[in-house]
Symmetry: C2
């Protein structure tokens, strides 16, 4: 079909989600008990309410217990936006029967929301938004001692050595933020990750542009991809950065050694120049009017939209070989996978 | 003078700083060793460079060792803004001889800077920007077990009980972010805090407007003042909130109990209405053009500017009984006080 029409393939997230749904179902049969996820809805935001309903339905379909806790403007009382949300998190942290906590952001804005993300116990942080998990991600620390979730400070780098996909004895996998992880899984599914290459370097050879550098999506995604070997252009409203773990040979100073994790360099490239080089373009700009120009795309590239309002033009498949318009259905499964892992780390 | 001219008093921070300078000098004579503060400058920003010079001079005057570590665009190499800053923090964290770490923000913007603030070990966080200290502040937890700085998760609320100004046995004072603390100290100095009232409630009876609700200045300041008994209007660009630990009697529901810490309610008041009620106005809006209208001020109020570009009009003292144009000289002493405390918590 795609060849006949001359257009790239439109790929929905459903078939990608299916494999993970089966994995989650399988893990559920082995769980210590039926996991309980608490969703905290603290605003009157329609998308948050919609997402809460979506979480509930997904959980019920799979046999995960979902309890929606409404507070603030989501509650029936006369509370303001976000009122009571911190107390609701603390209560769920302290409740032994709660295995995971999901908070429907945005609530107060990036700064105060970031504070709330630290209030959630790392043991119940199914979204993977706690500083500890971000630190591990940025430092390419893939395996952790579960008890390290109880200590402050940064983990020993030695645990970060990648020797294979499975955690060395006494360690478990760190938790990766849901949305960036879902994107990586989609890119794996469509062959951007090359399974012939060794684990931890399977995106080697790919050039990827990530548009948006928030701490929730863009920066962790750029880091994950670069840690996996890709050359990543991280494009934000006011700068372009290059994330790579390989030495830059074009530099005047002697070639740097191969890095065990990505390093970040400033770049003078424009978005247009980045796109001309990019095999993959991921866009996550939360602005309805923002669109990536189709004419700037490299012919045959893979495009993936993460924004609620589509960041690609209608004719994106005139250039893209593959276009994935949304990843939400994979994201929720990553969240449930995190839930099952965290339950295991905490209860075992 | 102020009565003759009909104008309010202009009060520089110098006399307020003097008392704390003496306290820091005194503490230095009792320190285990000469404390070492590492300043990390990672950008080419002129104000950051200026502030680094200022820190250096203040440290040298007092006999604190100050080491300026330049990285990123502050360094001589061809590095970009902020490059290497995380590595510099980790190195200082791990260096036993370093007692405190100060990072010159802004570097990447609020979100990524917030990430960096969590990388600094709480044991060396002289600025008090780590989540742990913010959590304690928001929850009015004034005393902590020093070893709790090593554990993740949130501290036991029981330690938060206020029974006096001095920490109960086995506990030490939590660290309070420098800038909000400096503002509180200025307000204590000018009599906004009433020493006849019991410790922990000395701002009772005062109505205070805080303009700005960032996680670095406005929100912690509003929380500190409300925890100390004040009624605080927290004004941000898109909303007004009321911070108070006292029940709201105007509410239709039965009067709520007195809270051990502040609670936050949404407010329909406008800035003009808040100012008309306010005994104290603190403004910290980082926009050169932003000015608080003098005509809106309550006659005889106390005004305090925290912004680099003054947020009050030139005629502010036509209405204000007292105007403090800057607090930087007090802030640096709060930072050094935190340095001495943290050295003691870590080494003892």
């Amino acid at each position: 079909m795609s060849i006949e029409s001359g257009k790239g393939l439109l790929l929905r997230a459903d078939p990608i989600a299916t494999a993970f749904r089966d994995e989650v179902k399988q893990s559920l049969t082995q769980a210590a008990r039926r996991p309980r996820l608490v969703g905290i809805l603290a605003t009157s935001s329609a998308p948050s309410k919609f997402y809460a309903e979506f979480t509930k339905k997904q959980c019920e379909d799979l046999g995960v217990e979902f309890i929606l806790k409404k507070t603030g403007a989501a509650d029936t009382g006369d509370l303001g936006e976000g009122e009571g949300v911190e107390e609701a998190i603390i209560e769920a942290n302290e409740d032994e029967n709660v295995d995971g906590i999901m908070v429907y952001y945005p609530i107060f804005g990036p700064q105060q929301d970031h504070y709330l993300q630290q209030v959630v116990s790392p043991y119940k942080d199914v979204e993977g938004l706690h500083f500890k998990f971000h630190y591990n991600l940025y430092h390419n620390i893939r395996f952790i001692q579960p008890q390290s979730l109880l200590s402050s400070g940064v983990p020993a780098a030695a645990l970060g050595a990648i020797e294979g996909e499975e955690p060395p004895s006494g360690t478990v996998k760190s938790i990766i933020p849901c949305t960036p992880l879902a994107i990586v899984k989609c890119l794996e599914h469509v062959g951007v990750y090359n399974k012939i290459l060794p684990y931890g370097d399977r995106a080697y050879g790919r050039t990827i542009t990530v548009i948006n550098r928030s701490e929730v999506v863009g920066r962790p995604l750029a880091a994950l991809l670069a840690n996996d070997g890709a050359r990543v252009f991280s494009v934000d409203i006011d700068s372009v950065q290059e994330y790579t773990k390989r030495p830059r040979t074009s530099q005047s100073e002697p070639a740097r050694r191969y890095h065990p994790r990505h390093v970040v360099h400033p770049s003078n490239a424009t978005l247009q120049e980045c796109l001309a080089l990019s095999d993959v373009v991921v866009s996550a700009v939360p602005t309805a009017s923002y669109k990536v120009k189709t004419e700037w795309l490299k012919d045959g590239c893979v495009c993936l939209n993460v924004a609620a309002n589509k960041n690609f033009e209608k004719d994106v498949r005139d250039k893209a070989s593959l276009y994935i318009p949304a990843v939400g259905k994979v994201t929720i499964l990553m969240l449930l996978r995190n839930l099952l892992r965290l339950q295991q780390y905490r209860i075992r």
